[in-house]
Amino acid sequence: MNDSDVKFPYKEAGLTEREAAAHLLNRFTFGPTPHEVDKVVHQGLENWFLQQLSAKNNDDELNRMLQGYDALTMSNAEILKKYPGNAEIQKMAMEDGLMNKDSLAKGSQNKKKLMNDYRMDNGFGTYKQLYSQLINQKILRATYSQNQLQEVMTDFWFNHFNISLAKSSYGMFAISYERDVLRKNCLSNFEQLLLSTAKSPAMLQYLDNARSTGRNSRFGASKEETERRIEKLKNDTSATGRNMQAKLERRLNSGLNENYARELMELHTLGVDGGYTQKDVTEVARILTGWTVFPALREDDPARVKKLALFDSEKSKRLGFVHEGDFLFAINKHDDEAKTVLGKKFPAGGGYGEGLELFHLLATHPSTAKFISKKIAIHFVSDNPPQSLIDKMAKTFLEKKGDIKQVLLTMVQSPEFWSKDAVREKIKSPFELAISTMRILNTSSINRPDVLNRWITKMGQRIYFYQAPTGFPDNAKYWINTSSLLNRINFGLAVTSNRIPGLDYDLAALNDYKEPDSPENALEVYCKLLLPERDITSTVKRLTPLLNDPDLGKKVEKASKENVSNADDDSDDQKPMTPPTKKKTDNYTGSLSFNNSSSLKQVVGIILGSPEFQRR
């Protein structure tokens, strides 16, 4: 499609250009920043969207903020080296003679200290540091990236192809997974995206495909041979001996694992009603036997050079091994017999190639087109998107061979996207709520993303830790319940009462330092600023009594003298690393009883906690 042909039918749906711009911003960014509606209108709605689709805006400022996070630019091999797990630390410390059986046995405290010392002395980081880099960068990117749609789509696909940091054996791969697999392909082509997830160590480990082996593989030690070796090691109680035993026992117990195959069809492509059977699941699992993580991935693994030479050798290639970066197709673990999936025959001896064919089959299947289109429509349009819209998107999906940009363009050019049933009908997830708050307040720095993250967790979304492969459910009912709602309300109040350390924003600046001439005026001005292009009459009406009590000042004063504070301190929030920056609003002088900054903050806090701000 030619760019100039792109046209958004919002007028037909009865929206003004400004309302349409606000709707675009609500759906394709993590929330509008102040006056962003003006900018989008000025640029032209279609132009703005096309620019977001190309995701080439300058992000130098964001990148400067991320400079201190070293792991964000590391490969998996480098991360494994710099951030080894406890088992590796222990192994290295023992090899260096700094720990031995006795020091390990003396008690866990001592062991912890020895291991921490070893980490510090050698400049190794911990998983905790690694994960907090991942979490912090997500918060900063979502808040500050100029390529908002790219971040929204990265978040969307992460949730679609979910992995969880709860399991430490692959958590360290999440940084590369998000960066090299998801962000890189988030607006490209679905088949390419799918295939990248399939070959990533994160997914291979999370859904166990890495250890799925075929019964009919051409190579590999026989069961008897393995049993014989275990028997020989029985009396060897050294660490190496025990590790070897465990490894051999795992080999003995290994076999076909269907976890990935099932989720690949149920969650990633066809959908649960996509027309496949349990037999198909088993057959897909057989095709994907041997799809695994390159062994000796760690950059300084002593075995790495040898393994690289081995798997990159001409002989290995001839045998059918495929090594690409972190991925290895191990033909010796591959079930090489014939298979049939969804009626399509895969003849014996297909090797790595039959896997590629399988992904093509799944990625271009009509059920996949429908399933993915629906999921996109649920995220961007409404919890119950009209079938007519899904059909249009699915048609584009098939015609344009899974081109994600084209599917989005079809969606946003459909009247259903702009209909009254869609506008402000999505409820923000806790993450979206937190980030949209940062954006609408024009927060210039977030010094403690970790505290923000604690609030997001409290509101019901522990990002990167959702355990099930489904990802977080994408509907209002999941996010809104009695406690999450209360926490959402408290979040707004916490932001404006400086209870989230390290946030730098300036309420007076939002109104260009113009002083509202009355409390009513201030209320209206800030409602308009924080809820651009929304109907604010009811919010204003409901909050006016808060300002109009003639004795308000006296009552507040009296009550504060009594000093009966029932407010609960957020005792789990540690002291900020940097003292909270002095807010310019502290010197804000408005007028009347409303003019003191704490009243203004309170009103802003209430607007942030209002039902209208929960919607996007």
């Binding site: 109680t237 025990r242 309170q602």
Partner: protein
Amino acid sequence: MFGISLGGVPTFVARAAESLKQNRLYKKKKILVCIFQRGAMDGLMAVTPFEDSFLKSARPTLFMEAGREKPLIDLDGRFGLHPAFKSFAPLFKEKQLAIVHGIGSPNNTRSHFDAQDYMESGTPFNKGTTSGWLNRAIGVMGHDASPFTAVSLTSSMPRSLYGTNEALAISNLNDFSLQVRENKFTQGLVANSFEDLYDETTSSLLKETGKESFDAMKMLQRADVKNYNPSNGAEYPKTALGKAMMQIAQLIKMDIGLEIAFAEHSGWDTHVSQGTLQGTFARSAADLSNSITAFWTDLGGDLQDDVTLMTMTEFGRTVKQNGTGGTDHGRASCNFILGNDVNGGKVHGLVKTLAIENLEDGRDQPVTTDFRAVFSEVADKHLLIRDNQILFPDWKGNAIGVMKS
């Protein structure tokens, strides 16, 4: 009741008040309390088959004896309770406490994450199950929903409670309040503003949930959870689990519709220096048993009839101790079930001698009771959930008689 449920759908508080008048419906509800022991408890140390010579020789520095002047508490001539669990002994004697030994998952994974995931989803061979078994239980009990029907005393929702039925994850009941750092007057003003705003919104979900949130908040405020005094001289350990159990007791006493409570207890992954009388295992065991018995004492006679408590852990540990004075990931473990309709005072399940030929993969206590047999029996007998296919879709086995019939 609080002067705000004027018209419209009666809120859960109004319904609660109503039901208190009519036959106290909520009172009749049964409550299941689950504690997940994360990290995999060594069942063979918790409840030791102390006459097993194979175990004795496999654990040169970890094995303890039972009998006079010996540390283990002899339960039945064959099994001995670790001394740190001593507060369990009277409960066992009074037949309120049952133990199932050899319990575990049919899936032989020894990964904490996977094993917990399977146990909590209730489907040991399917990772894709979206909901947890306890969440599915909420859906089939058929009582009026309260925001406190299912409560997890954790900071984020546990896998067991994932799902479409409303559940609450809250580590501290005090968080269930409007956090305005001013005086009571301002707090009241702010609260009124929010109530008005949510009452007015066009989104029915936000409107109804808003109403319930404010009602629930007021209810907790009235109950004054901050200044709670346990009954019957119960003393909770000042630990995370102790606090969680105390809050569960508070919720039960408030009588606000609690049916499922969940707490978790970490620290059971004893690879190193597991210890015997003292050490990491003993510390965890004392915390667990003291928290549970304090909770039980606090409830007292009447309320005990309504409650069944069950512990669970993802797998057990190797029969043989390892080179660092601990044990590694194994298969079967044991669990504890406490309640008045429990078939107590008995160690249920099948534990053969731990000779190598009786072990799973030549190293681990074999799983002889599928965890689903026990979980579903408890749900069936205590919560009266007859349709086990909803809780455990692939489960076709039989109950083992851990509950009174």
